[in-house]
Amino acid sequence: MVERNPSPAVEASLTALAVSLRGVTKVYDNGVMALGPFDLAVRKGEFISLLGPSGCGKSTVLRLIAELSAPSSGTVRVARHEGVPQPGHGIGFVFQEPTLMPWANVRENVRLPLKLGGVPKAEGRARADAALASVGLADFADSFPRELSGGMKMRVSLARALVTDPDILLMDEPFAALDEITRFRLNNDLLALWRSLRKTVIFVTHSVFESVYLSQRVVVMTARPGRIQADIRIETVEPRGEEFRTSAAYSDYCRRVSAALAPSYSEQSTL
């Protein structure tokens, strides 16, 4: 299902990398250094989490990868999308808020990236419906966002990110605003999607448990300016399911990640 045990050679070869950041810094207009210097290499098909305290530049990393923002120094490289060019250049973005257009129904919201990319209407609708089906919302295509629950809105947002069939999925604390039970369900659904679609996922979160449960690698960041504090590989029996959440290995990893995270929030003076 998912290839394991990457040799160092594979890890080093640039062709197998989906994303690489080298010596990247980001300084805001007001002079605050938000990030860096920061190095990160993400292999194709990998699921990694960026974990860190508020304001450590996790979201900035995603915005840099999506080219919504330019680095102050250093290089950001994203593997080119192979095959038919797609809107978004092979990147799908899920924000913390569902970020849906309230004036458009669910189908039109999901179709938006295709509409902006000039995909014909009929094809766009068919693909939007397929994306909605993949997140279990096939019956809600004609609903309006306000008629959906928080978890359902998040699924719509995920469907919209998937509709362009991106290679890389960037997720910025997507489930942070949801209740824990809804979040667990969406975690499992996301894992199932990742296994079947084999996307590269970069998942920003401030939840230790979520990062350990979901990802193959947890990258722990320091307080601002964000640098890498620890890079912890989570190895367990795949595919993961609810039994992993209650296993001893899981709590072990949570302990390790928490320990790595501790200096970042104890040294933080303001919050």
């Binding site: 915005r63 999506a66 080219e67 919504l68 809107p87 978004g88 250049h89 990147i91 973005f93 924000f95 808020e97 970020t99 257009m101 309230p102 004036w103 458009a104 938006l112 990236p113 509409k115 902006l116 990319g117 309006f144 966002p145 306000r146 362009t164």
Partner: protein, 272 residues
């Protein structure tokens, strides 16, 4: 935007009925008191006409008054349309170019804060009377459309804007699919204010133009009847103006509700 008190879910039907019935009762009681005072104290109509006489005058003078009503409504409509198109167009221009906004916005404010009653006599010198009246209505009504549309265009969700950027949306696409729909509730709010204001602008200009002659709008009728001590007709004309204002507001509020009812908070029912 609209200041509506939240209606509690319980006994909301009774509450709603009360909200309709109470003003009607107050209105009827007021009219009755007015009528009684006039009759008992035998106040002559040229001092204070009774409501019954006002209604009779309205019927008797309907030919003249309806003509005037049509004139005033036409002026109001022209001013309103000009203000809507002008306000939205200028706001779009501002949104496309900061330089244009910086250069012109102060003058829009100057136009707004200078009382129109003071501008009207000047306009009447330089413009034909009918044009001057429409321009007055435009000046009064234009600013709320401009400022509301500007506000709306700037209120776009930051993440949605990022999403459009990520998917390489062109400027026209961003305007059409993101900024205009996001601004729509604000624009409609501006139009709702502009409707009433263009009526005020038209009335002010008609009164300013009154002595100049040829005007025949409702405000002109009020001024004219005043000179002739035809007080019942003054009241009748005032009644028509007031009704016109209510209808204009009602129509615009209805349009706003119909356009937004599928999605916007301001148009949603209490079940949400």
């Amino acid at each position: 935007m609209s200041a509506q008190a939240p209606v509690p879910a319980k006994s909301s039907h009774a509450q709603r009925a009360l909200r309709l019935v109470l003003p009607v009762i107050v209105f009827a009681a007021g009219l009755l008191a007015w009528e009684l005072v006039v009759r008992i104290r035998e106040i002559p109509p040229y001092v204070l006409p009774a409501p019954s006489i006002i209604v009779l005058t309205l019927i008797k003078d309907w030919a003249v008054l309806s003509q005037s009503l049509a004139t005033t409504l036409a002026t109001t409509l022209e001013g309103f349309v000009a203000a809507s198109i002008g306000g939205i167009a200028l706001a779009l221009l501002f949104n496309q170019s900061k330089w244009v906004e910086y250069s012109l916005f102060p003058y829009a404010i100057v136009l707004q804060v200078t009382p129109v009653i003071a501008i009207a006599p000047l306009l009447l010198i330089y413009l034909e009377q009918q044009t001057a009246v429409v321009v007055c209505a435009f000046i009064v009504a234009f600013f709320p459309v401009l400022s509301n549309t500007t506000l709306g265009l700037n209120s776009v969700d930051r993440n949605l804007a990022g999403l459009f950027q990520l998917y390489g949306a062109s400027k026209p696409q961003t305007l059409r699919f993101l900024k205009l729909p996001a601004a729509l509730p604000y624009i409609l709010g501006g139009l709702r204010i502009a409707g009433g204001l263009s009526l005020i602008g038209a009335v002010v200009a008609e009164i300013a133009a009154g002595t100049a002659g040829a005007g025949s709008g409702l405000a002109y009728r009020i001024a004219e009847s005043g000179y002739r001590l035809n007080i019942p007709r003054m009241f009748a004309a005032l009644l028509l103006l007031s009704l016109a204002g209510i209808v204009i507001y009602g129509v615009l509020a209805l349009v706003s509700h119909l356009v937004l009812r599928r999605w916007h908070e301001s148009a949603l029912g209490k079940e949400n």
